[in-house]
Assembly symmetry: C2
Homo-oligomer: 253 residues x 2
């Protein structure tokens, strides 16, 4: 029997990235899509608790169902499991995100929040992101890598509490050099605000920033992308900094 | 010279919890508050990128400044650093949250997202949460514990990449038994949706759920709270599941 694959993203149901992911996943499974009516980039692990969620059926066929909702990527996973599938899919995939979720981006990413949510629920889950922010990005070179990683995950399973953050290089003249299992690079966004005045004279601020990476080691996801490798980072939702427990116990609070 | 302490929360500037935290922090530092006009519970690490941010000055005195904005808790931290302080505070504290952020709640919490954001920026940061969801919760028993932990953090500093998630028991007839350094309990929310029909007959869904904890070990934050201890969990934003890297490398992708 074909595996049931739940698909979501954070760029909205209309984004080219999710349509590429749907086409790829339909080759290996029964696909259920629950995505958002609106772009939800930068929503992190937000959930909707102050307003009710609405779910609309777009397509309902034997091997393919598509729904849209007014919620966040995490809401999409919850609705997909509880209201649509009424159980656990065999795999959750999120993306293909328009833009990298390597390094610290994993913290802000709605794409990866959906993956982490599925992981909390015990579902093998993978986020796919293309290192190209253009809405006209070329996704044509990604299928073999996505199929390899999705099939390996379905075959091998993942350790409970662990999911995958996969970032894919943008298309270049040279072919992708392979897949590297990496760790999250120690990089950050140096934030700045673009402060302006509106026509009534009131000040407002646009969030902007520059990605700063001083982590040059060759086992990081940013290094892999810069060197034309697909990066695969195993991600966990246990945020405990175990190595600091003894340090803080020594404070004798 | 008094340390500069940036304060935010996710319950909005009007919440009793932040006002208790402000009163406590004013005893040890120069305080700058940047909080949200609206309640932002469950916003996770969301940032505002589609709409501009507005910042309003509420109070501006030598040792005390208070601002409100239309952003998320993470936006509040960014605005506090970049637009208000124009530099790094000596400490960021977030809360006091109305409700526990122990265990898996750390993932959904706007309170802890603000703390993690400051941590990414290299600022010592602590989230304080009271294990009582009532808007009329009693905060009167918390001050000595909050002062002890804030002063110890100012004195000792934190390892780069590590911040603190502090949860405090609600008031009971017995006094709090002490402070325990813990790890994040392996618990989760068993989600359910409360599905209803509006007056026009259209279906909508309220997110609801039940907290399920099977983690009975005595070093978890949930155990500490249940046994009337303050829990302190060191938290990191490097989500790499290092113990899974070799497992996935063996897939030979």
């Amino acid at each position: 029997m074909k595996p049931t694959i739940l698909i979501t993203n954070d760029d909205g149901y209309f984004a080219p990235g999710i349509h590429h992911l749907i086409q790829i996943m339909r080759k290996i499974g029964r696909v259920v899509v629950v995505s958002s009516e609106q772009a939800m980039s930068g929503m992190g692990h937000a959930i909707t608790i102050k307003t009710p969620l609405r779910l609309k059926t777009v397509v309902k066929e034997a091997d393919y169902e598509e729904y849209i909702c007014n919620g966040t990527p995490v809401d999409c996973v919850k609705l997909g499991e509880q209201v649509v599938i009424k159980g656990k899919p065999d795999l959750l995939v999120s993306g293909i995100n328009h833009g990298s979720n390597a390094s610290i981006n994993v913290i802000y990413s709605g794409t990866m929040a959906a993956v982490i949510e599925a992981c909390i629920d015990g579902i093998p889950a993978i986020g796919f992101s293309l290192d190209d922010y253009s809405s006209h990005a070329d996704f044509s070179h990604l299928e073999p890598f996505i199929l390899t990683i999705a099939n390996a995950t379905l075959k091998n399973g993942l350790t409970p509490g662990v999911c995958l953050n996969v970032n894919l290089p943008k298309i270049q003249s040279e072919s992708i050099r392979g897949i590297k299992v990496c760790r999250q690079a120690k990089a950050r966004w140096a934030e700045e605000f673009d402060s302006r005045h509106d026509p009534r004279g009131a000040e407002y601020h646009w969030l902007t920033g520059k990605f700063e990476n001083d982590d040059r080691t060759e086992d990081s996801d940013v290094w892999a992308l810069e060197n034309n490798y697909v990066s695969v980072v195993p991600v966990q939702f246990d945020l405990t900094a175990y190595s600091s427990i003894d340090h803080i116990r020594n404070w004798n609070l």
